[in-house]
């Protein structure tokens, strides 16, 4: 298959199918409606199941059931819908059920708007539901990367028996770019047998239980410690990031997803003004990449986090930098997108101010 021109939402859906996902549960919400429409048409073609649930609450619990029953399962929504799913996501993490969840973010809080935003970073990376748990969160910045990461997400979910979140935004979901599905590195290709799944006992001697309840605090603590051993492994093996022009950068911008594309343009513009600017683009938001900060903290003057939010990822940047260099923030909210001129002005301020 040659390159095809696709919307981000469609590439997300097609990539899931190519990753072996045959079960999709969803509920309409803008700006991710192309996923449900695509799946409604495509799933019957591949002998899969598309089901429109009566709510996001129900949809995520269908995912819990299907994932627990051993299927590769996808659910997508946008910010308010993802909020409704938090109870289910907590249960899924607690019961160690693999699944892939995509949040095509829009502006909030509350009903907010339908324009792109990155204001669900905290919810995605800090555990939006109750209890001690982590999602592995991947943030694509191109449609091709969307397709690549969705493929990886299913493998990661199965590897860790943990929900993986694709964190995109309305712009990434709606815009069109060429995608090459053939070039996608198919990870483990074969799906390991899920001996823990509820498939009916058949000839199996022991029954399987998918569950997150444990009333004995000593056992529940052990369960929590077990989960965190898993997260520790993931935080070593699942770190993904991109670095551009960081070797001799005076100022390093930090941006993920859609806005990282805008920021890439700023690097060139700053060069014309003799300001050396680099970019750290976290691709995995959890685990958050600390390594690129370790590599650059000695020679850089400071970091500037650029976000489509009032400042969320900047807190992780500060944790990574740990007071060794100043960390600045610039963001727009509510569906507004930081523009190159405004970012450049922030860079000038930092560069001039530090001289």
């Amino acid at each position: 298959m040659a390159k095809v021109l696709m919307k981000g939402n469609e590439a997300l859906a097609e990539a899931a199918i190519q990753a072996g996902c045959r079960h999709y549960f969803g509920y309409p919400i803008t700006p991710q409606n192309e996923v449900t429409a695509y799946m409604a048409k495509r799933m019957p073609e591949v002998g899969g199941v598309f089901l429109q649930a009566e709510s996001e609450v129900s949809a995520i619990n269908m995912v819990y059931g299907a994932g627990g029953a051993g299927a590769r399962v996808l659910i997508t929504s946008s910010s308010p819908g993802i909020s409704l799913m938090q109870e289910g996501i907590s249960y899924i993490a607690g019961a160690e059920v693999p699944c892939v969840i995509a949040n095509i973010m829009r502006g909030g809080p509350g009903l907010g708007g339908i324009q792109p935003s990155q204001s669900d970073y905290f919810q995605a990376t800090k555990g939006g539901g109750h209890g001690d748990y982590k999602l592995i969160v991947l943030a694509p910045s191109t449609i091709q990367e969307m397709a690549d990461l969705v493929q990886q997400a299913f493998d990661i979910a199965d590897k860790y028996r943990n929900p993986v979140m694709i964190l995109g935004d309305g712009m990434l979901g709606q815009m069109m770019e060429p995608v090459d599905f053939d070039s996608i590195k198919k990870g483990e290709n074969h799906i390991e047998e899920k001996t823990w799944a509820t498939t009916g006992m058949g000839t199996r001697k022991k029954k399987n239980i998918i569950n997150s309840l444990e009333l004995d605090p000593q056992i529940l603590e052990k369960h929590n410690i077990g989960l965190f051993k898993k997260y520790e492994k993931a935080s070593k093996e699942e770190v993904r990031y991109e670095m551009i022009n960081c070797e001799d950068a005076e100022i390093i911008l930090v941006a993920y997803g859609t806005i990282a594309r805008v920021v890439k343009n700023v690097i060139e513009l700053a060069k014309r003004e003799n300001i050396k600017v680099g970019l750290i683009r976290p691709v995995s938001l959890w685990p958050f990449p600390v390594e690129p900060f370790e590599k650059t903290v000695d020679h850089v003057k400071g970091y500037l986090s650029i976000e489509m939010s009032m400042g969320q990822m900047v807190e992780d940047v500060k944790l990574a930098v740990n007071g060794r260099k100043p960390v600045y923030f610039y963001g727009r909210a509510g569906g507004m997108v930081p523009e190159t001129d405004a970012i450049l002005e922030e860079i000038r301020k930092i560069s001039g101010g530090a001289k």
Binding site: H23, Y64, G65, A69, T198, G200, M201, T203
Partner: protein, 249 residues
Amino acid sequence: MAVVFEKTKGLTDIPFHYCPGCTHGIVHRLVAEVMEELGVLDKAIGVAPVGCAVFAYEYFNCDMQEAAHGRAPAVATGIKRVHPDKVVFTYQGDGDLAAIGTAETVHAAARGENITVIFVNNAIYGMTGGQMAPTSLIGQETLTTPYGRKPENNGYPVKMCEMLSTLDGASYIERVSVYDVKHILQAKKAIKNAFTAQLNKKGFSMIEVLSSCPTNWGLSPNEALKCIKDNMEPYYPLGVYKNTLEEVK
């Protein structure tokens, strides 16, 4: 010596945690016996609720998933869509099924989801210590209706069988009770019909079982059984509300 009675293979050996006189034990046994008699234990996948029956996943001798409060029909839907040829059932109480999980219940039925729901209606929240349920009777005293349930404040008890039987997706709906031997035998027959409907791919089936809660009703087990007959049954008439099994005959 001839064996006259044996525990069903459909239950594990883990002792029930239920209060003395509680009818959950009877209902568990009936469901388990039916699954054994239909020969479906090796292909059954059950979904436990939140409420008194939260540990049902320990008791039924088949694969089980534990759902969040009210979400069992959605979880069962996910399982059934992955394994359409397996037997999928939920076991839920009145708060779980008729309050917090009403939407999941109604829409699973409307979709004609080919699952079986066992609905234990004892008109009270047992696990949390005796609060008003959506099915608590008018005048019933509970922790949260200490002066009795009043329609002007709390509205009216929900009749799930009547509601769900209006939906085209429902295949078999019956309300039974377990307050004496005759009714226990009838309940078992109803549960078997519900599972049979699923095996025949007829769609959503639900059996509502009028049950007792001696602990939170503040009655002895015998008084509680009598209370089902005298107080619950007049408001919740027993009987078959929907039966598509007959149509195939």
